[in-house]
């Protein structure tokens, strides 16, 4: 039996409470309910693909940090002489945050958008497009941050961590992951086939190789250094490396601001696109 109250339903009361706000048309403030959905769906997802995100940076650390590191010896960075593994480790942490966030906000979001078609159902509830964007980006951020935290643990167990500031890498990884995820989701919303998503790899691979991950960008000509310094992964690595080494400078605020802007642009575009695709 269905009991029906003649009084205002709870769902309406909840929605009414927010109805005066400026963002009431696009946001109900319940992005977490979508994250809860994703947590429930985790069971069905491929556990293996989830695990690779943890393993990948460790493999790179072992191969490069110790393998190549044995040949390279030490590296000079910002006036410090560092074992090569210490130089590479924070960069790989930034990479793992980026990869986790990108994977979730591109392939997984694309799958939900075009195959599972869950956004049609979600947008017919009192959630708005900004809730959906925040929920998915927040979820992708969690994934990136989890990989980063796992990697940080491994690095610490290997005895590479020297500063307590390394703990700040967790919130830093969250910021990096959030920014990458919000741009990732924005880009994905324009894609119509899985094939197009593969093009993203063409962007990510050079980012990974040449953003000061494995060698300082001072190896490049001046003009190229400027270009590389403008890329998001270089900014991420500047932030993680600074914190990992405990070198706190005001310059670290540049990547923070960079990612705040990147996140905001990604969020705005994603929200517009979701609105366009599911609510127009």
């Amino acid at each position: 039996m269905i009991t029906q109250s003649l009084t205002v339903s709870a769902a309406v009361a909840i929605a009414e409470r927010r109805s005066g706000r400026v963002d009431a048309g696009v946001r109900a403030g319940r992005a977490r309910t979508l994250m809860l959905r994703n947590a429930l769906a985790l069971r069905t997802n491929n556990a293996l693909s989830f695990l690779t995100g943890f393993v990948e940076p460790v493999i790179f650390l072992l191969a490069f940090g110790y393998g190549v590191g044995a040949l390279v010896g030490t590296i000079t960075y910002g006036g410090m002489t560092l074992p090569y593994a210490v130089y590479v480790a924070p960069a790989l942490l930034a990479v793992s945050a980026m990869n986790g966030a990108i994977f979730d906000s591109t392939f997984n979001v694309f799958f939900k958008m075009h195959y599972l078609r869950i956004y049609q159902a979600i947008t017919s509830t009192s959630l708005g497009p900004l809730d959906v964007a925040l929920g998915e980006i927040g979820w992708a951020m969690l994934r990136g941050a989890m990989y980063a935290a796992g990697f940080l643990t491994v690095v610490t167990l290997l005895g590479l961590t020297t500063s307590w500031w390394a703990l700040a890498l967790v919130p830093a990884a969250m910021l990096i992951a959030f920014a990458f995820a919000s741009v990732g989701m924005a880009v994905t919303s324009y894609m119509s086939t899985f094939h197009q998503l593969n093009w993203m790899q063409f962007v990510l691979l050079p980012l990974f190789m040449f953003s000061g991950t494995f060698f300082p960008i001072t190896a490049y000509p001046e003009w190229l250094q400027v270009v590389v310094a403008a890329t998001p992964l270089w900014q991420a690595i500047a932030l993680t490396r600074g914190l990992f080494l405990g070198v706190l400078e005001p310059a670290l605020l540049i990547p923070v601001a960079y990612f705040a802007v990147m996140a905001a642009i990604g969020l705005i575009v994603t929200t517009r696109r979701l609105d366009r695709l599911f609510l127009r």
């Binding site: 429930l40 947008t123 017919s124 009192s126």
Partner: protein
């Protein structure tokens, strides 16, 4: 509850998409071709705009149960989605519960229970989790949802499937789950787009019964259907849409009285003979409609008209005298039967 004035939805479509979407009834007769939704050329890119909903007026009062009938492509789902605040109108006025869906979508949708034409269940989740997460999207706390979900599982008769994945359900079960999901937030306005398509007769009757009960508690129903019996059972008032426009409006009984005779004689003479016989039946009944497989004679005196047909020397293969129904109204107004679109 709902007020629409000159409500219009135009879909832009690329020149290539147009060809793929040719409708089956397009070339059968000039009369039918005329009734396709209007297309308007726009701009330089050769793209065209299709007026899926073409300036309709609607008023639905609180507590009413209101139906939208129309052949495939008439614009029913488009109208439902505009009312559901998930599709924005191109022009005209629309207020749902006194609010404009263009600006207050989330609040409006909190009032609504939506059963879309196509199931949009979350196939990564179980039956119960579908109800739970959907309720959570509305902000309902888990403590309130747990007992509510039990009621809904009973309602949908899915208790024994509660922990199954949605993929493991039959089509009709999925439909029932979608309907149950639409009720999770205690909606005051329930939008049902072909709710019983895919349900077996028993499940249909059970659903009708539940919808009656909801109506008694004051819930407003808006539904589309291709089943005339369903429309006659459930709708106090309905509109018939054709090619994006409303062509008739009223209570089912009034519509039948206005647009049809009391009785209908259905006679079949075999596929090729129907049109041969037709000219010889002149003068029988008020009006005769020719369908591909039968002739329909509209009349107030069915039995004697049937005798007259036989007396003129035409022995039908099958013959039936019945009361006029909404189906006949529909045929009269749109020139096609509801089912074949």
């Amino acid at each position: 509850m709902i007020r629409a004035r000159a409500l219009t939805k135009a879909y832009s479509r690329a020149a290539s998409a147009k060809r793929a979407e040719r409708r089956p009834s397009e070339d059968t007769s000039a009369k039918r071709a005329e009734r396709r939704p209007s297309e308007v050329s726009t701009g330089s890119d050769g793209g065209r705009t299709l007026l899926a909903v073409d300036g309709i007026d609607l008023d639905v009062a609180a507590g009413e149960s209101f139906g939208i009938l129309g052949a495939n492509g008439a614009g029913k789902s488009t109208t439902m989605r505009m009312i559901g605040a998930t599709l924005q109108r191109t022009s005209g006025e629309l207020t749902i519960l006194g609010r404009d869906p263009a600006h207050e979508g989330p609040v409006i949708r909190a009032h609504l229970g939506v059963v879309p034409q196509q199931d949009t269940l979350d196939t990564e989740l179980t039956v119960r989790e579908n109800l739970l997460t959907y309720g959570r999207y509305f902000g309902l706390p888990r403590t309130a949802l747990v007992p509510r979900i039990e009621e809904l599982l009973d309602f949908a008769q899915l208790q024994d499937k509660r922990d199954e994945k949605v993929e493991a359900l039959s089509g009709g079960m999925k439909r029932r789950l979608t309907i149950a999901r639409g009720l999770v937030n205690d909606p005051s306005l329930l939008l049902l787009d072909e709710p019983t398509t895919g349900l077996d007769p028993q499940a249909r009757h059970i659903l009708w019964d539940r919808l009656y009960q909801l109506r008694e508690t004051g819930v407003t129903l808006v539904l589309t259907t291709h089943y005339m019996d369903e429309a006659e059972q459930l709708c106090e008032r309905l509109v018939i849409m054709d090619a994006g426009r409303i062509v008739a409006e009223g209570a089912p009984a009034d519509l039948i009285r206005t647009y049809s005779s009391r009785e209908v004689v259905e006679v079949r003479f075999g596929t090729n003979r129907n049109s041969e016989v037709l000219p010889h039946l002149h003068g029988i009944g008020d009006r005769i409609e020719e369908l591909p497989d039968r002739l329909l004679v509209y009349t107030d005196t069915g039995e004697s008209d049937l005798q007259e047909i036989v007396a003129r020397g035409f022995m039908p293969v099958t013959a039936l005298v019945r009361r006029a129904s909404l189906e006949d109204v529909f045929l009269r107004l749109t020139g096609r039967s509801l089912v074949d679109g």
